[in-house]
């Protein structure tokens, strides 16, 4: 074989720089031996993920052969993500994941970054030479494309792909997939869709099906995207990216509970994807399923240990969830959760020592945790300490503001909390996601158990109203308002039902009750999504009272 290569005078291995990453010395040495006998010359060996990243920071590497399982510390997927994310490894360089797993379950983590190929152990020289040889040939053939991607010259990369398509039929799939991604990257959804349609016209290919669903979502055709993704998952129950995308579509349709179920199923199949756990935590949190959210944040934090996606926000969210769970629960279980929250914050500050805002954010949560455990003196002490610090900052971020308001509510300073939220609403009036958070807190400044109860009563009231039982509706809304008296939509629901009662049996006392309800909403910020409904009902009431 070696003689053949020399005869052709093209030794594809000779010019390239190789990096072998494996925690077993024997394996590193035998891999180097095999590469040498294939004609490779520049070969570096390292034992750990950290040293692989270090090496790639200062040296050019053409081919990385990285074992998935590297013992303690980073695994192969972590190394791949960090190298690609930080652009330490060019797109024109190959990353090969060496794995003992024939099934790729273990490796199916965050699929944002995929290796160029998998090599399954056991590996012998003949096999390595064939496999690597054809991958290197592919790399060379596609170099005009990958070079432009490395230069971030995407339009030129697209041109190169289009040129290569008729010339390189062997790499058609790679070219089509890359074209689809490139078109999406430059925002040319119409051409991306055409690529996926062309591929699908040829036959049913799961990657093209998924690509098409991405375009549907981007074009806000949520119903179509959701149906199409359900069909894809029906055919490919092991296709994790389809689950992630389906959850996004369901969220957009307002079906947050279904979205959570889909993510739970995906996380069960493939629990090691940090971004998926994070997505699950966020959706479960929004659904007030704080147990699930807490568990998913725990996973997110733990998976972050070696990951490029690690962030202090995950620790803060975990502590917030745990604080919600422990609040008012003075059993051992509550104390345990409160401790876990404080520990998570302490670990965060150790891990991210350079971020100066974290201490303050951490104190805001600590204050709530202590208050929730009945340690009011400690809570009060922290509040005294942080209030002047916060006042000294002009224009702090929305997250800090909303979280501080939450603490103020817990510390029985509702007036200050509401004032702060109104200021924030005015300041962030063009940011719907921030406004949403502000509104939720204004409406429901209570623990999640009470929130769930009030939401259930609200649903009962709506159901009673729809079936024409006005008295039952009034009772349900009133019970809900006993828990969350400032809830804008709930107050307006009640007013609407009472006005209907008045239509049927006019009675001045009803109108007085309506007026009392509307008066409680006087301070409703203009940016609140219920504000227009509030004004409309107010006008209607004035008309009735004249």
């Amino acid at each position: 074989m070696i003689q053949n290569l020399r005869k052709d005078n093209v030794n594809p291995f000779g010019k390239l720089a190789f990096l072998i990453v494996d925690d077993f010395e024997n394996f590193r040495l035998s891999m180097r031996q095999m590469l040498r006998s294939c004609g490779a010359d520049k070969i570096e060996l390292v034992a750990h993920g950290g040293s692989a990243i270090q090496y790639c920071t200062y040296n050019h590497v053409d081919v990385v052969l990285c074992d998935y399982n590297l013992g303690d510390g980073k695994n192969g997927q972590h190394v791949l993500e960090e190298l690609r994310h930080k652009k330490l490894l060019k797109r024109s360089s190959l990353f090969l994941m060496v794995t003992a797993e024939t099934s790729k379950e273990m490796v199916m983590g965050a699929r944002e970054y995929q290796p160029d190929a998998y090599l399954t152990k056991p590996i012998n020289r003949a096999m390595l030479e064939k496999r690597l040889g054809s991958l290197i040939r592919q790399r060379n053939a596609l170099f005009p494309v990958t070079r432009e991607i490395d230069r971030e010259n995407y339009p030129e990369a697209i041109t190169m792909c289009l040129q290569a398509l008729p010339q390189q039929p062997r790499y058609k799939t790679w070219l089509m997939k890359t074209l689809g991604e490139l078109y999406c990257q430059v925002g040319d959804l119409a051409h991306a869709q055409k690529i996926y349609d062309d591929a699908l016209n040829q036959r049913e290919l799961s990657w093209a099906h998924l690509g098409k669903c991405k375009i549907l979502l981007a074009n806000r055709s949520f119903d179509q995207a959701v149906d199409s993704l359900k069909a894809l998952i029906e055919k490919h129950p092991d296709y994790m990216e389809a689950y992630d995308l389906l959850a996004e579509g369901l969220e957009q349709q307002g079906k947050a509970l279904q979205a959570q179920q889909v993510l739970e199923k995906a996380a069960e199949h493939s629990p090691n994807a940090l971004l998926r756990q994070k997505h699950l935590a966020e959706v479960a949190g929004a659904n007030q399923d704080i147990d699930t959210a807490t568990q998913a944040w725990r996973q997110t934090v733990s998976l972050g240990t070696h990951s490029i996606h690690d962030s202090a926000e995950h620790y803060l969210s975990l502590a917030q969830s745990l604080s919600d769970l422990s609040e008012g629960n003075l059993d051992d279980e509550g104390a345990e959760k409160a401790n876990e929250a404080l520990n998570a914050l302490a670990r965060m500050q150790k891990r991210f020592p350079d971020d100066e805002t974290l201490d303050l954010r951490s104190r805001i949560i600590q204050c709530r945790v202590h208050a929730g455990q009945g340690q009011s003196r400690e809570a009060e002490r922290i509040l005294q300490e942080i209030t002047p610090r916060l006042e000294a900052i002009t224009g702090f971020s929305a997250e800090v503001g909303v979280d501080f308001a939450k603490t103020l509510f817990r510390m029985h300073q509702a007036t200050r909390a509401r004032q702060l939220l109104s200021e924030l609403a005015a300041h962030y009036e063009d940011q719907p996601d921030v406004l949403q958070k502000i509104e939720s807190l204004m409406d429901e400044p209570v623990g999640f158990r009470q929130k769930i109860e009030a939401r259930g009563l609200n649903r009962d009231g709506i159901r009673a109203f729809e079936s024409g039982d006005l008295d039952a509706a009034v009772e349900a809304f009133q019970n809900a308002l006993a828990i969350v008296p400032d809830h804008a939509a709930l107050n307006l629901n009640l007013v609407q039902v009472m006005m209907k009662q008045h239509d049927e049996h006019p009675e001045p006392a009803i109108l007085t009750a309506c007026k009392r309800r509307l008066d409680t909403l006087k301070g409703l910020p203009e940016q609140h999504r219920q504000h227009r409904r509030y004004l409309a009902l107010q006008r209607k009431l004035q008309g009735l009272m004249q």
Binding site: S30, Q33, T120, N124, E204
Partner: protein, 226 residues
């Protein structure tokens, strides 16, 4: 006494997974041993048998896991386009040290074509079939690939005695009909057939076919994918 909390098939699957990885390490060491002691080991029957049997066990375990996932409804074909001659060459390469050790000659006769299939699933099938061919051949093994009636046909041929008459069919072996007494359970054929069925295009479905003859006059295994 049975503990309802134990999901026995899952326990089995994890054990199989572990054994498979162990065997992978063992095969790796065997390859290294062969390289280090090339002249002494080249004709050693004992060493060849060691490697062959280890390969066979490894393949069986891979298949067992595949069938487990199939039963869990957690296995589907992710079909992509691949350049067939490279695919065959890469998989035959894994066996070349063993084939040379056993004195079996090998060749590939593949058309210059792209084919649509799930690479991982086909790898399992090919490994098993090559393994089987090594067991029953006299002296030669041939891998073939061609396009025929809008189907990709991948074949493994040998110059042995061929398949017995009762095995020569092109249907799907029924899992229940697997005979555990004869020593040859046809587990490999069941797996190959299941993989073929996972490959669908429109209303057409993949299948396997066994017959005798071919270029070498022995057994011919074919997997036909739409």
């Amino acid at each position: 006494m049975t503990d309802p909390n134990i999901d026995f098939s899952m326990v089995l699957a994890s054990a199989v997974h572990d054994m498979k990885n162990s065997l992978g390490m063992l095969l790796n060491s065997l390859d290294e041993l062969r390289m280090e002691h090339e002249p002494a080991l080249v004709g050693s029957n004992k060493f060849n048998m060691l490697q062959y049997e280890a390969e066979r066990m490894h393949n069986d375990l891979v298949q067992l896991l595949g069938i487990y996932r199939l039963g869990e409804n957690n296995l589907s074909a992710h079909i992509d386009e691949h350049y067939v001659p490279d695919f065959l060459a890469e998989h035959l390469a894994r066996y070349t040290p063993l084939l040379e050790g056993l004195g079996i000659s090998y060749a590939i006769d593949a058309a210059d074509i792209n084919g649509f299939f799930d690479e991982d699933l086909l790898t399992g099938v090919l490994n098993n079939t090559i393994n089987n061919a090594i067991r029953y051949t006299n002296s030669k093994i041939l891998l073939t690939a061609r396009q025929e009636d809008h189907e990709l046909v991948i074949g493994v041929e040998d110059d042995g005695q061929g398949y017995p008459a009762n095995m020569q069919h092109s249907g799907t072996p029924d899992f229940k009909s697997l005979d555990f007494k004869t020593g040859s359970t046809s587990l490999g054929l069941f797996f190959a057939s299941s993989v073929a069925v996972l490959h669908q295009n429109g209303d057409r479905t993949g299948r396997i076919a066994l017959h005798n003859g071919g270029t070498l006059g022995g057994g011919v295994f074919e997997i036909r994918l739409p």
